[in-house]
Each structure stands twice: as C-alpha cells, then as structure tokens.
Amino acid sequence: MSPPRGFWVGVELPQLLLIPFPNCLYLPQAWLDTQDRCLGHYVNGKWLKPEHRNSVPCQDPITGENLASCLQAQAEDVAAAVEAARTAFKSWSAHPGVVRAQHLVRLAKVIQKHQRLLWTLESLVTGRAVREVRDGDVQLAQQLLHYHAIQASTQEEALAGWEPMGVIGLILPPTFSFLEMMWRICPALAVGCTVVALVPPASPTPLLLAQLSGELGPFPGILNVISGPASLVPVLASQPGIQKVAFCGALEEGRALRRTLAGECAELGLALGTESLLLLTDTADVDSAVEGVVDAAWSDRGPGGLRLLIQESVWDEAMRRLQERMGRLRSGRGLDGAVDMGARGAAACDLVQRFVREAQSQGAQVFQAGDVPSEHPFYPPTLVSNLPPASPCARAEVPWPVVVASPFRTAKEALALANGTPRGGSASVWSERLGQALELGYGLQVGTVWINAHGLRDPSVPTGGCKESGCSWHGGPDGLYEYLRPSGTPARLSCLSKNLNYDTFGLAVPSTLPAGPEIGPSPAPPYGLFVGGRFQAPGARSSRPIQDSSGNLHGYVAEGGAKDIRGAVEAAHQAFPGWAGQSPGARAALLWALAAALERRKSTLASRLERQGVELKAAEAEVELSARRLRAWGARAQAQGHTLQLALQTGREPPPIWRVQKALLQKFTPEIKDGQRQFCATSNYLGYFGDAKNRYQRLYVKFLENVNKKDYVRVCARKPWHRPPVPVRRSGQAKNPTSAGGSSAPPPKAPAPPPKPETPEKTTSEKPPEQTPETAMPEPPAPEKPSLLRPVEKEKEKEKVTRGERPLRGERAASGRQTRPERSLATGQPATSRLPKARPTKVKAEPPPKKRKKWLKEAGGNAAAGGGPPGSSSDSESSPGAPSEDVPTRKSPCPFCLVLEAQYGLACTDLSTPSSHLLHQPCLFMI
C-alpha cells in the first residue's frame, strides 16, 4: 500500500502533485493504434491514406513523445475531398431539414458516447487542461449540434427564400481546432452545405470527429477532413465548387488568403486573432473580476492573451488580488485533473518568451507566479504592467498566457484605450452599475461583450469579431446566414480579370479615343461617377466606350481611377454614422422607396438590359427581383428593430430558447415596437449570463437602455410598462396579501401621475425633449449584498449616492444642469422618502406577494432606521398590517422601478424578485 502523498497530517505542505497514472492515456492511444499510428485523411466516410506523401509527427506537446505520424495532403487529395463533398451536397441539401436535424442529433449522441475519447485525445494532443475540454468544449459541441438541429428542422419555414451555398472549405488553426470546427460545421451542415476541412498536421481530433460522423451512415461525404500544410490553403480555396471559405487563424495568414481569393468565386469568412479585453471599473466586484481574468487568460478556456484595463482608483487593490490569485494557479500536464493551465507546445512557449523579453526591454514590469513545472514547454501565468503605451509590445497582440494591465481614469478614457487597437474580438466589462456597464458595452468596438463574465459561450448567441478580428459570425441566427444565399442566386463565378495588372490599376490614364456615334438611349443617362449623392466627373476626366450585345457603340461611361475609389470609400465612411443612426423604420422606408422607384422605371431598365443581350422576359424578371429584394431587406431592417432575441444560459443542457423567446415577445412586443432607437445598426452583441431564474428582469435591461437613449420615455409611459391600476383600499377593508399581486383591474385611462415632486415639468408622461440622456440616466440600484452586510450599507449608500457621480458623465455633469440632490436613488430609501411629497396622502407599501416580503421589509426598515425626511415617517407608521385610512396604496416596486418612477414618472408593472440587482440577472441577449 503506498502511503498517502500530497500533504502529511501536521506537516503544512499541501501540494497537489501531478497525477502520474497514465490511465487516461489509454483511450487515445488505443484509437491511434486502430490507425496503426498513422493518420491519413477522412474523406467520404473512409480513411484516405495515399502513398508517397510526406508525413509529420504528431507529438505530445509536453514530453515530445511521438504519438502518431500524419500524412500531408497534396493537391489531388484536396480535389478528391472536394469532389466527395460536392457529390454529397446533392443529396444532403435535397433532404428536408428534419432529416438533417435527425442526423445532427445522432451525431450529438455519438459524441456523447465517445466523449471520453474526444476529451482525452484533444487534451493529450493540444496540452490543454482536460477539465476545460471535458466540461467546456465537448459539452458545447453537443449543445451546438442540438441548437442547429432545431434550426435545421424549421428551416423550410424560418429560412424560406434561402438556399445553402454549396461546399464550404474550412481552414482551422492548430489550437482549439475541435471547437472552432464545431462552431462552423454545425450551421453549415444544418442548412444543407457540406464541408471540407483542412486542419494543420498533427490535429487528430477533427479527424476523429469526421470518423464519428462518417460512421453514422447515410451521408458519409458531408464532412471531410484532410490534414496538410498552410500552403494548401489557396489550393483548397480555388477548387471549383468551393462556394465559401471559412478561415480561422492568424491575422497575417488571413490577409494573405484575402489577397489570394480576391476576385475568385469563393466567398471568404475570416475569424482572426485571439486576444481579448477586460475592462475593470471601480464599481466592480474585484474578486470576481480577477476570476474573470483567470477565465480569460489562465484557464485554457480562451486561445489568447488578455489586455486588462483597470480603473486607476482600484488599480492597487486589483493588482494585489490578481497577484495573490496568480500564486494559486497551477500549471501542469493537461491530462492532470487538477491543473488550471496546461502547456501548448514549444512554438507557443517561444512566442510568449519573446514577447515578455521584449516587453521587459521596453520598460515593462513582469510578474510571474504559480505552481509551474520548470521544463521547457511550460510557461507561468504572466502579468505585464507599466508598459509604455506607445511601445511596440503595447500595440502587438498579447500572446497566451500573458495579461497586459494598464490603468485608465474615466470611462471615456477606457473606451478610447480599448478601441485604440486594430483588433476587435471579444471583451468583458466588469461593473455593478448597469448604466455604466451598458454604456461601456455599447461603446466597445468589438464583436462580443460580456458583462460581469468572461468567455461564456452559447450556441444561440452569435460570436464574431470586427475590425481586424474578422468579419464572420458563428452561432445563432447570424451564423446560419453565413452559409446561405438567397434562393435563385447563381453560383459565384470568378470575376478576376486575367489581363489586368492590379498593382497599376487605376493609376495610369487610359487612352480612350472617340469611337463613333453613340446609339444609346435618348436622352442619355447622366454622365459621371455617382459618389456621395451626386454625379461628379471622374478624376482622370476620361471616358470608356461601352458596346452593346451586337457590338455597336452604346455610349461612354466615366473612367474611374484609384482616386475616385478613395473618394467613394471616404463618402461611404462619412455616410455611415448617419445611416446607421436612422431608425429601422426610416431605413426600411428608404429601401422601399428605392424599390418603388425601380418599379416605376421598370420598362426603361428592362429595355436597357435587353440591349445588353438579355431576353426581355428575363430582363423584366431581373428588375422585378431587384425590387423584391429591396422590399424584403427593408422589411428585415424593420423586423430587426422589433425583435428582442434572448437566450438563457442554462448550464450544460441546450437552452430552451424558443419557449422563452416566444413568451417574452408575446409579453413585450408592443413595447419593443415602439422603441424607436434600437441599436440594430451596430453589430455589437451584449451578453448577460448567469443562472436562468428571473426572466423578467432582463427586460429591465432592455428598458433601461431605451430610457438611456431618451427617445423611449414618452412612449413607454403609455405602454405596457405602465403599472396596473393602483389598487385603492378603503379603511376597514380586509387586507389580503396575495390578492394584491394578482390585481388585474383595467388600466387607468391616463398615466397615473407619477411621484414627481420637485420637478413638475416631468410629472406627466410628456417629458420635455431637452431632457438629455445625461440627466435622464438613472443611477443603477445598489448591488445585492450578502444579507449580513445589508443593513449597514444604507447609511453609506445614502451618502454615496448623493455625492456619487458617474465617471462617464463626469464632464457633462459639470455643466450645471443637473443639480437635483436626490436624483440618485440607489436603494429604495430615497424614493420612499420622496413618495409622500408626491402624494400628500399617506403612501404605503402594499402587502406583498411572498417573494417580495423580504425586500419590502428592508425598504420599510431603511426608511425607518435611515431617518428619512420627516414626511417619510408615515411610511413606517403604516407598515403592512396596520390599518390604513382612505389611502391609495401601491405596490412597492423594486429599487430600479423606484428610480424610474422618480426620474421619469414611470410606473412599472408587477415584477418578481424586486430585490435583485439588475446586473445580477442572468441573461444573455442580443440586439
């Protein structure tokens, strides 16, 4: 019997040592043995092991032990795979969505059956912590399959008018190849595309996945995986039949691919870079934010490093906690169940070593800690601070596992710093103040924003990047459209002009001579280039003759050059903010007006097309189709403004998206319809995560965001947010605590006068338009504290809120317009103190439904103990249960509602669990 190891009783040396038993190695090695330790490609449901190919060893990144050899594909292997996918596409896309859905569900089940093999293999080969692969990747893979199975099964109705693109070429990076593959193949397969994936050599997990899929039966060729070097990327991309290339990897490679594919028929979706960002404000729960940093950079969840921006006032505290936490991190072999971080092989280690050395030479401070083996491929968690902002390292992408911390003073500066980088992947904002968090979330130019969480993924929420981080979306409805095109669109053809030199294009003035009389339409269409809303002469002041289908000179068009292109791009850039800021309705109206204009000129346009050699019928159909498209997209723009899409984060199970979404939409559609300023023009997604209990409170979020943008206020005062009628109780009436909550009397015909005492101009729903969002923005309610702490905070809270200023608004607050002392209502207390002023009669908390009891008690207690203004004494007298005289009683809403009430004169409807803080709310929504 071996004695207990680790720590001895009485001896203070608790150590979690590396677990040396190789049991978990057995499975992946047994699988590799079935391939005789030689991995080929998996094409059309069969292993393809062509002869005379180079092979690359697949090594354990830590020990360097050879696990298997991987054959390197050549062009003919790629062609074979694409051919298989093309053949499979015919039958796969012809099947109804339900059949595809069944297949995806079966694949999910197969993954479930073989998950141990999957996670041990992935961890063994990549060196990542097995816990993250087991609890994260493999579970998410199944969720993705289930989610997309749902999408596939409703495809005919939900995605009518769209058809699958065809064969998709997928190019994967060496790290995270399995998960990245799942994010892309699931939507592609769901909508009816087939896939050829090119994985870097020595990535066996995608091959295993392809094998699992291929062995499922009737559709062997839908997923084909070949492994080969990066030089095969252009070969794959230019294979005939490939309609789209989805690339995931490094920035430079993506750029090169974009160049290669310019003008080719394959569309390109890019997801580049790995860095993410974390914004820690001074109102955050710092300990939890530190856990967020660990999740982002030191837990093998994310692929890259992290830029960390910390507000100056909490810098010391955050750094201390961060360093303390780093000391407890444990790095080691990925298959050890007790490590936080694994190792990612020699290349990643060299990269980070170089980065840290350079950062040090540029003046940065480097802090490293943690229980890390000293051998080569391991690298300790690293915190870099004091890096001069202009130094090359501060501009470069932060590699794994480095966190580069820098301070910021105000929220405005935080946004400037965060957006001052060419990358725009993902970011998280940590703040307990909802307004601030939302403001920062919207201001960040990144694809994905989490609030008070980092790195959470959900199949129903699209993730992607902007700026240099790419231009494609994965997951959710947007992920589906990546692999769809409108029905009837002809397959893309190469439009590359073989005899055009792109390096000199547009620079030299062409030599165009008069070529004879024009026989074009009369009157001739306006001459010039249409840029920025008007016709203007081309920079070269030169023209190009255009011939019609019979070879006659049709007319001259303006000859543009490089400068004209620049001018046009500039004009588009200038127009963007105005156009994006338009309401969805306005944009829809414009598109529809354009469609109507096209239809008015239908005959002219058709005859012109005819002159270019198109049959009259086809020409008319083309014009008609154009008008229809414009209408369809206009309608879409409008619909986008109407929908609030929500998904719940429910742990490991696939989330019940549809049910929730429907319920919410039913309940709140009128409200949403009237919200004029939506943010659908931006492609930012904002996520809230957590458990799935309180679903109404997410709508506070939505609501607040509209309030922040001020347009909404007037509308919602009349809309369903309006509270149900205030129950009036006469003296002597028996109190019934339960019936009060379910009161369903008809709403009052006019909005009830809200409790707005000292600002009479705001007491009605007609809010003056000059009320700016700055003054209008309510202070978010105080976060929920553990119950032990609650009573004491109220004094401080009161103090804090009266002098509190939000950093984001700091400068504007100085303009002197907002000087209302009690405008920040962080808890129920200030509002209760105001109620009596608004209503000279006694106002008192109505006997609450069960859930609300506790909160009410506190609110009442606060008012009593907090020594509110004299008027509030009536509150404490008329505590629930005491007889009341001729007083209209009202339900006491949550603190947030009190804020709304006080700020806007809005009343809110019955809401559950009022004491919870908004930001604690578990949701995840996208706008």
Binding site: G6, W8, S288, P791, E795
Partner: protein
C-alpha cells in the same frame, strides 16, 4: 485556537465598498468543485487532513452520556486502526479537531475525553442555539457555565436582529450557519465569507477562522471545502486553528473512502465503528 481577534475600529466604509456579483460567485463556486480533483494516494492524504478539521458534532435532543462517550472515542480514533496502519499513518496522532455538543453535555464530554486520555478541545454551542433569541443575560450565563464545565470553544449564535440593524459583533471564527437551517453551508456563501476574511486579514493582520457547518456529508464535499479554502485563503488557513468542518455524518463517509482506498472494496456500514 489562534490568537484572539484583537478587534478594530468599526469602519463601515469597508462594508459599503464591498461589491459582490452573484452570478460570478456562483460560477466560481461551480468551478471550485471541478478544478481540483485529487485521486488515489493524494485523495487519501486529503481525506486524512479533512478528518483533522472535523468538529465531530452531536446536537440532538436525546443526547446522553453514553452516546457522548461513543462520540468522544470516535473523535480520538476517527479511522479504524488497521486502516491507518496500512497507510502508515498510525502514529501521526490523527484525531478530529474538536467535539461539539450542547452546553448541558459539556461535562460528560470532558469526562469522556479524559477517560479516553486525550486533549481534544470541547466545543459547545451556546447562547440559545440555534435561534439565539434569548435574553442577553441568560446567553452570557450560558457561555459562562459552559466554560466552567470545561468547554474551550464556544459556538455563539449571534443576535441576528442586531446584525440586521447594523450593530456588529466581533469573533475569532465565523460559521456559515448553525447547521440547523434548511439551507446551510453552500459554496457561494462561503466564497463571500472567505473573501471577507482575507480582506480583514489584509487590513488588520488578524486571521479569522472559518467553519462551514451543516449539510457536509460526503467525503467528496469535504475535499471541495478544503480546496475552496486553499484556493481562496491559502495553505496558512488549512489548519485546525483556522478551519473547521462542522459535521456529524461526514466522518463515517471519509472512513469508508479510506477503507476503499486501502482494501479496494467499499465497507458495509457495520464494518466501521459507529460514532
């Protein structure tokens, strides 16, 4: 027991500055149970370590000197002798951290422990356990009597009505709950408490102990609690002076797990001495 908490000026600004993000804490609580799995010899070592943190507790209305005596014997010999011998840990003096009883049973306990020939501390719940809703005078008297009888540690139920109105009390140890509530020790609450302990230590240099109590029944749970303390506070808190687990049935499950580790079989309940 560590050096007593010397106390500090009550500065309510510390409390008002605290931010706790509930979902983030829940996530952390979930992680902590998955990130530190220990197996085999390592698990055995951790389990033995956990034994030394246990406040072996009996808080039943029908406690008598006979079952107290049995409990005390179990506290002295928490793991079967042959198992410890097989682990080569027989001579390491493994006992539970304390025996925890009602004040009226303190006398019996002290006697029984003396008879067993050991100096395991006796902890007594006091002050109107578990509600604490008795007069201050009787509560103080209760403590005095328990100490007179030989209790060296007192688990005080604080006056929660005072706490809820912001009048704080100081302590050397904080407990998650009495163990008699419907919901007792949970990880999210513990995380918040442990972070508060750490902040207090950073601010004042006083180390406050931590005792989760109630609902910790399985050996696996106890390991999660150990790793939680280790992760949030560090190894210096992993000693009986600063960390206890209040439990009555946990010990038998730990013993079963160690039995399994030694013999490769699971023990029937009659294979192990009852407490």
């Amino acid at each position: 027991m560590s050096a007593h908490n010397r106390g500090t000026e009550l500065d309510l600004s510390w409390i008002s500055k605290i931010q706790v993000n509930h979902p983030a804490v829940l996530r952390r609580a979930e992680q902590i149970q998955a990130r530190r799995t220990v197996k085999k010899e390592w698990q055995a070592a951790w389990l033995l370590k956990a034994v030394t943190f246990i406040d072996l507790t009996t808080l039943s209305g029908d406690d008598t000197s006979s079952n107290i005596q049995r409990l005390c014997y179990k506290a002295k010999y928490p793991i079967r002798e042959d198992l410890l011998k097989a682990l080569n840990m027989y001579d390491k003096g493994i006992t539970t951290a304390a025996v925890c009883v009602y004040p009226a049973r303190v006398c019996d306990t002290v006697k029984a422990l003396k008879a067993a020939g050991c100096n395991i501390p006796v902890a007594s719940v006091a002050t109107g356990f578990p509600a604490g809703q008795t007069h201050l005078k009787t509560r103080l008297e209760e403590i005095r009597l328990a100490v007179e009888d030989g209790a060296t540690e007192i688990d005080v139920v604080i006056n929660r009505s005072l706490v809820l109105t912001g009048q704080w009390e100081g302590s050397d140890f904080i407990k998650t709950s009495t163990g008699k509530e419907t919901v007792n020790a949970t990880f999210p609450v513990a995380i918040v408490m442990l972070r508060a302990i750490r902040d207090f230590f950073w601010k004042t240099g006083n180390k406050i102990g931590f005792k989760p109590a109630g609902g910790i029944r399985s050996a696996k749970d106890s390991l999660a609690w150990l790793s939680l303390v280790k992760e949030e506070l560090g190894d210096e808190w992993l000693k009986p002076e600063l960390f206890r687990i209040g439990a009555s049935t946990l010990l038998s499950d730990i013993e079963r797990q160690i039995y399994h580790h030694v013999t490769g079989r699971y023990a029937a309940y009659h294979d192990l001495p009852m407490s």
